[in-house]
Symmetry: C2
Subunit: 218 residues, 2 copies
């Protein structure tokens, strides 16, 4: 038997998942491949998007999720990237209703990518499907190598992992073997790309992977 | 009128706050000053505690909150720090019931500090009182200077802010003025201490502040 609180939580998840499926249908009809971009605050989610987008041809759209502010959307729009803002005003993750509202009358060009930058949070976003085709998890070497052990769900659900800020490796204690052991224990086959948001190193391979997986999955 | 979901949320917060008051009474009776240590994953919460504790005389206790694992508790126990683990198994923050369960038959020596390291998350922990006397927010220069704008609640509620990893300032783009403007907009008087977890720089001042505020508040 579930308690009252548990019942409400289950109900919230079930209705979220139904709407997430609907979002996926809307996007599939338009040949839009959606990437749910997750990561703790400050790991470089927006910088990662800027770098990947440079290597993608064709239509690219971005939804920026933040509790408050539209700093990142402004930053992307200045680079002529088609970005829109979602503010959750307190909520710690994006959910399918928010994405449904955002995409449901957005006229996408056919055949493109939609990157949805989730709220900076290594915990809650991993629990909610938002109609994405893939979850991209971004982590930074400055945050330490123990993250897979402490925040397993995000690593378990990731379809691609980006290890950012590798330019800072000489200045921090990051045990790559310990990190990768933790990742592999949770997620046997997920590709892990080492990148540097500052210099752009490593992002071409990420873009190639996304193009390939998009063409396989759509 | 509140929706059903909102009613449940309000109920959860009200019963949490009642129990948080009870936790505070238990701790006050034993002259224990409780610090709720908040911050995103990887900002250096445990390292900060290790460094502060070196400068504190008398009894010090630590409760380590993690979704999974007891890596940090093991690390502290090896240094003969009286640390205990709380695992939330999925939950994104500590709450008063978890702390109540942990402290309610813990025999503290009189007159000491209890540091409660929350789950690594810059969003949810700020919403829940756990019976603390003060919230200590830890942020890192590697995470960028826009954090107060994007995650305002944690900054608004902080009684002390620790800006960590200042040794990496030469290698990252951190706009201190922009950061401090954001902090001051939300929290006029909160003291902000710049520290380096790696070298121990700046922690003596943090410890002095905590000793002073403890003697004023208890």
């Amino acid at each position: 038997m579930h308690t009252h609180k548990e019942e409400v939580v289950l109900h919230v998840h079930a209705s979220n998942d139904n709407l997430a499926e609907h979002v996926q249908e809307i996007l599939k009809e338009q040949n839009i491949y959606a990437v749910n971009v997750m990561g703790a605050p400050g790991v470089g989610k927006t910088t990662t998007l800027e770098n990947i987008i440079k290597h993608l041809k064709g239509a690219v759209y971005v939804l920026e999720g933040d509790i408050e502010s539209d700093i990142d959307t402004q930053r992307l729009c200045k680079q002529n990237i088609a970005a829109r803002q979602i503010n959750t005003f307190g909520a710690c993750h994006l959910d399918a209703p928010l994405i449904h509202k955002a995409v449901h009358d957005w006229q996408f060009e056919k055949d493109g990518f939609l990157f949805i930058e989730n709220v900076g949070n290594l915990v809650c976003p991993a629990e909610f499907s938002i109609g994405e085709n893939i979850k991209m998890l971004i982590v930074s070497v400055t945050d330490g190598s123990d993250k897979p052990y402490k925040y397993p769900l995000a690593f378990e659900k990731a379809g691609i992992i980006i290890l950012n800020k590798i330019d800072l490796l000489p200045h921090v204690d990051f045990d790559e073997k310990f990190f990768m052991d933790g990742v592999r224990h949770l997620n046997k086959d997920v590709p892990v790309f080492k990148v540097c948001g500052k210099t752009g190193e490593g992002f071409q391979a990420v873009a190639e992977f996304l193009k390939k997986i998009k063409s396989c999955k759509l």
